[in-house]
Symmetry: C2
């Protein structure tokens, strides 16, 4: 059995808008730009388990909350959230359980994602 997570594809209206936001958000680079399908990934390609993000243009609009969302780990949740908002994200809410605090945000097309910081005192 050889099966490895290679990437996450995001259906969207404007692949370049999302690629622009997410490359800046994650420090990624555009890996391939096929116009209606844009892949981004880390500049450092040495890792075996790099997970690419792909933005695929689709005709249909987003309906309701996405069934899948990506969770990111950050060292400084307040600073990272502020940086992401400056890049075009929107804060939806803040949550905490005893071992984790996280902020829910939306990217420029409304896709939900979380930035979490473990053991935030």
């Amino acid at each position: 059995m050889t099966i490895t997570m290679g990437g996450i594809t995001v259906d969207c209206a404007n692949p370049h808008t999302l690629a622009d936001f997410w490359t800046k958000a994650l420090g990624y680079e555009i890996a391939h730009d096929y116009g209606t399908f844009v892949f981004i990934g880390p500049a450092d390609k040495s890792s075996d388990n790099t997970v690419y993000l792909g933005f695929q243009q689709v005709p249909e609009e987003r309906v309701g909350k996405n069934r899948l969302h990506i969770d990111f780990r950050v060292d400084d949740r307040a600073a990272e959230s502020a940086r992401l908002v400056e890049l075009g994200a929107t804060v939806v809410g803040e949550h905490a359980v005893p071992t984790l605090s996280w902020t829910v945000l939306r990217d420029p097309e409304g896709n939900e994602f979380c930035v979490g910081q473990p053991d935030e005192a």
Copy 2:
């Protein structure tokens, strides 16, 4: 800036059904089981960029095609697809472009995912 992809959360009806399918599909283990939220990840926790999968119970049903889907790389697309179907997946279709062939499948709750094999001759 320190922001790393930590996981993908899947909204679902039955976290344990999906955790069971996906642990077998990927060779992952259950990392945490909170009943309505189950995390799975690789047995080998040595990697810095492990991407966990989380299955979160939600009341609402899946509507239409998921806006995000996960793409997996495999070495033997036919064998892996057959194995995944045996575990409870359904094949939706097969596609190819000059450098890549892939199969679209659905997990037991209907979530689309792709298994791709580069440069399949």
